[in-house]
Symmetry: C2
């Protein structure tokens, strides 16, 4: 396996031309032989010669040059709020793995949920000639940053869908997830169930609240506006604040459906400070099943989302859209699963 070397020992990058020369054919022919799409156009024997030559030289096509010609970059922009939020790594992993199969490379940026930054990132990705975008940001807007709604670039939405179904999207069924949580609590005997909702400008915060209210009604329980509090962010401190507010009202709550796991942890904080036993005196359900939620004290009952699959399906939709830009935008909705652990128990009637 000889490879061309320079004096300093570094491998020169071997180009199509080198392969063609070694195979004794024209570069154009080599290109056709190497490309699966066009291999049929070339003689079987010569094709094999070219392939062998490419193998021997360790030839790797240059995607840059290819992109210049095809006006495709084989690159996909991925907009996520924050990689250190444990929600997103599995989603990103799903995206990457699926994309990689198709020889696409993801360009990942963190927007920190800042619309301005999202806009800037979006432009930057466009400048980099991305073939499409996957946005895992969850603001309840048009899917694209303000002012860019009309841009004709394949975009797949994650965690969010458009009312008019104008863009393909992959979401988990938040209504169903919350319903499972509520039904679980109801089956344990709870009737005074509260919801600490996430921010209503995020689709997740909004839908889970909707789902909560619907589930309460369909359980035959009289909805009580006092029992639904809304946070300004999906964070622990907000969960603690709202939980304290709720407990101050002495409304007889026996169970809480938190907007997500972090807010559930905030409830734990409040319980400890007040000396309330969980699940003895009050039950809590989280949302997301973040890593190691089963190791908390008590182990957290929560709703698990198929994060990895959400990512891989999103990549899949984008790839389909790239193949056939005129295809109908598909809306995928995946089922969540309730993980019953130690933070929920029958209510203790006082």
């Amino acid at each position: 396996m000889r490879e061309p070397m320079t004096k300093n020992g570094t491998r020169e990058r071997v180009t199509l031309k080198d392969v063609a020369r070694l195979a004794g054919v024209h570069p154009g022919t080599a290109s056709r032989a190497l490309n699966v799409e066009t291999r049929a156009l070339v003689n079987e024997d010569t094709a094999q010669r070219v392939l062998a030559a490419a193998e021997e030289l360790g030839y790797r096509p240059n995607p840059i040059a290819r992109g210049l010609k095809t006006s495709r970059s084989y690159t996909v922009g991925v907009l996520i709020p924050d990689l250190t939020n444990p929600l997103f790594p599995p989603i990103v992993r799903g995206i990457q793995d699926r994309l990689e199969e198709a020889a696409y490379t993801p360009l990942i940026v963190n927007t920190d949920n800042d619309p301005d930054r999202e806009r800037a990132d979006f432009e930057a990705m466009r400048a980099r000639q991305v073939d499409g975008m996957i946005t895992a940001t969850a603001r309840r807007d048009h899917g694209l940053p303000p002012g860019l709604e009309g841009v004709s670039l394949p975009v797949v939405l994650v965690n969010r869908r458009l009312e008019d179904g104008a863009r393909p999207s992959v979401v988990a069924d938040d209504r169903m997830g919350v319903r499972q949580a509520v039904q679980h609590l109801v089956s344990l005997g709870h009737r005074r169930i509260a919801h600490l909702a996430g921010p209503q400008e995020l689709s997740t915060g909004y839908l889970r609240r909707q789902g909560f209210e619907a589930a309460i009604r369909s359980a035959g329980i009289q909805p009580d506006p006092e029992l639904v509090l809304t946070s300004s962010a999906f964070i622990e401190s907000e969960g603690e604040r709202l939980c304290n507010e709720l407990l101050d009202r002495e409304s007889g709550v026996t169970a809480i459906v938190a907007g997500n796991d972090l807010m559930a942890l905030g409830c734990y904080d409040a319980f400890i400070a007040r000396g309330i036993a969980c699940p003895g005196e009050i039950s809590v359900v989280g949302y997301n099943d973040m890593p190691f939620a089963g190791w908390f004290d008590p182990p957290l009952t929560t709703v698990r989302l198929p994060h990895y699959e959400i990512g891989s399906r999103a990549a899949e939709l984008l790839l389909e859209h790239l193949r056939d830009p005129d295809a109908e935008p598909v809306q995928v909705m995946l089922d969540p699963e309730l993980m019953i652990r130690g933070s929920t128990a029958p209510p203790r009637f006082r």
Copy 2:
């Protein structure tokens, strides 16, 4: 702000040629005017005309074409084992944030610690003309995948350093971290301290074991080979397995330094199964301070690494190297910090 539109409403991509035509100059001149480096070569007036034209058309240079010419992509490859390992997101975040400031884009790939895959990814990145690489894989090899050691591409190592200091690197001081853990246990009164080491082919596993043995000796404790067990992976089940093995030996251990937090959790598993109280009967220290380690039962005493800073410093080193390829490779070592929580206590002498 008019932009050329096609019938279907999509913006055409505007090229240098369009700008030149509108400004009434030759594309070459437009190129010089647009490029900050060469703007001095062009008449002030014409430069302004070109800039105005570019602005009006919303011109964005095509990095693909530029890269083909300059063989620079303003792109950096980032090799990490697995994004869903909670260790890496903050590191990646640090890398991204710093790189973004310098208008570089990271290309992130997961190697799953598979040398073959790492090699393929590395080649793919090279094909994409990355200007440099950051590898956060921790195998104790040459820094580059086997067979690629001689490649002349700026590379910064994370979590690993070369004996000869041939590549810039950023690491946390594993020896110091383990020493802090051991000293903490010794100051609590422990003398029979065990170490469940990580895989020895990973630099982290290796160095922590070294650090443990050194710390034990400098604490004036007679080293006991019986008390050092080595795992095949940094995972919970391995921690459990080794912990059971250790306890079976009835060696009078009162404290364990686990190779990382997951292995510490494995110890928890073993304790629960055997009805052993932690920290009452035996203490455990983890490593990494993974997210929410303080929420475990008991809250885990562990060694915190400056993950974000590790990432940003690595990016910094790479950027410096890109600016001045002949600069001496810098080795950065950052200090860890012991987080004392609830899994450690004085030994109960039996």
